[in-house]
């Protein structure tokens, strides 16, 4: 039978771990953005050598599951790299998520850069503006509006993906729940709380996303 008092008791235990999940998501989003912008700029200018290299990385991260990437780094690469071996599980998760989500983000950032038509760039050139002035003053401000909603979506996806961290023993929402469940064996109550916790988080950010999208759609 559903144990209501136990259910209520588990709620704070799981909800307490929301900051851990958010921490992973926020840190990973920050580095993913950094990686995404770098890859997108390389693609936008088609910088020789770097461009095919980043294409390869993007193809590999998009073409393999996140869990495989996580295990490959944390258990595979770790054998040869002391750097990886010395990482805390949280760091390893953030690293894999940053690269993975960065690869996806680079596509929306590149698309946003391309969405600024050549005509505006030519007008700027014909006035004597430099390439740097054009990208910083004309292209980027317009691209940000286009890129922001899909990037925020990536952030929401990242919250879901961060639940994989428990596989490396991180005590996030999932990690805490697994521990709780292994003691009480009341998996239904425990994971029901987990579902609710993620649902509140993701729906909440979903509402933010709707407002953001509306704001960005109000073209200049």
């Amino acid at each position: 039978m559903f144990n209501t008092s136990y259910f209520v008791q588990v709620i704070p235990k799981v909800f307490m771990k929301i900051p851990v999940t958010l921490e992973i998501a926020v840190i990973s989003t920050f580095f993913a953005l950094l990686i995404g912008v770098i890859i997108a700029v390389i693609a936008y200018y088609r910088i020789p050598v770097l461009y095919p290299l980043t294409r390869g990385i993007v193809s590999f991260t998009r073409g393999t599951p996140l869990v495989a990437q996580l295990y490959f780094l944390y258990f595979g690469v770790a054998i040869y790299s002391t750097l990886v071996r010395d990482m805390t599980p949280t760091m390893a998760v953030c690293l894999v998520l940053s690269i993975n989500v960065g690869a996806f983000m680079s596509e929306s950032i590149r698309g946003a850069l391309m969405s600024v038509d050549d005509g505006q760039k030519e007008a700027a050139l014909s006035l004597g503006m430099s390439g740097f002035q054009i990208i910083t003053r004309i292209v980027l401000p317009q691209a940000v509006r286009v890129a922001l909603p899909p990037l925020f979506n990536d952030f929401i996806t990242l919250i879901k993906s961060s639940s994989l961290a428990f596989m490396l023993g991180v005590a996030d929402i999932m990690g805490a729940a697994r521990m709780e469940g292994s003691m009480s064996y009341r998996y239904f109550e425990v994971y029901a709380v987990v579902m609710i916790a993620y649902w509140i988080l993701i729906t909440g950010f979903g509402l933010v996303r709707v407002r953001l999208e509306k704001h960005c759609a109000e073209a200049f």
Binding site: A124, S126, L127, M129, S130, F220
Partner: protein, 249 residues
């Protein structure tokens, strides 16, 4: 004898191997002249105009504007920047900066290229917008302006860098008919003031009225060059006659 502001010598443009669009183009434009370029579609009028400020890099030949002279076969980035400072262009599609208001569009190059301070740039931009009749909409974004209004702002923006020469590439052909007149009037006023300009246009009566000289381009060459009376009223070249009678319809 008035001074030559623009000098084009033996200009060629080949896009792909064997696809020669401009063939041995030479002409000069004097200060205060308004030169109209007319000709059938696809003869290279836009390409020629774009070669004048190196938005399209010519294959061969020399473009000179004021003090700057650029040889296509060995040009530097610095020369191209200098060349661009001597002219400015008004495009068929306006190409206003979408993230900037009308007045910010006009101020942009004054701030970034001429390095003027904001106050000075703002005041000068107001003057230019007044001149094109757009001062009352100075805080509008391009998306809130009609085509004709956008094009008038684009003209003010092009004037902002004090160009020696204004280049217009069919400034009215993307406009709905009701907006054509106000843009042509604006250009006419500039020509009357003595602004040196090269204007590609399909509006033959306008060219007749405003230009001091008309070039007829055909298949990548300048096939006729003369006064509006010579070129439009009394055409001799058979291809030119054919073109003009086609345009009348």
């Amino acid at each position: 004898m008035s001074e030559e502001l623009v000098k084009v010598e033996h200009l060629y443009k080949e896009f792909d191997e064997g696809n020669v669009i401009l063939k041995d183009i030479s002409f000069t434009v004097k200060k205060n002249e308004a030169v109209a370029i007319i000709g059938p579609s696809g003869t290279g009028k836009s390409t020629l105009l774009r070669c004048l400020n190196y938005l399209t890099v010519p294959t061969k030949g020399i473009v000179s504007m004021g003090e700057v002279s650029v040889d296509a076969e060995h040009h530097t980035k610095k020369e191209v920047l200098e060349l661009r400072k001597n002219s400015s262009m008004v495009f068929q599609q306006f190409n206003l900066f979408k993230n900037k208001t009308a007045i910010e569009n006009v101020m942009e190059a004054m701030l970034t290229v001429l390095h003027m301070n904001r106050k000075e740039a703002y005041e000068k931009a107001e003057g230019l917008l007044k001149k094109v009749g757009m001062l009352d909409r100075k805080d509008f974004y391009p998306s809130k302006l009609s085509g004709g209004q956008q094009q008038r702002v684009a003209i003010a923006r092009a004037m902002s860098v004090n160009p020696d020469v204004m280049l217009f590439d069919e400034p009215t052909s993307a406009l709905d008919p009701e907006w054509v007149k106000e843009v042509l009037e604006t250009i006419k006023a500039l020509a009357k003031e003595g602004v040196t300009m090269i204007l590609v246009t399909h509006e033959i009566p306008f060219a007749r009225e405003v230009a001091s000289r008309v070039l007829f381009m055909d298949e990548g060459r300048i096939a006729a060059d003369g006064t509006p009376e010579e070129i439009i009223d009394h055409p001799e070249d058979p291809r030119l006659r054919q073109f003009l009678s086609f345009m009348e319809r």
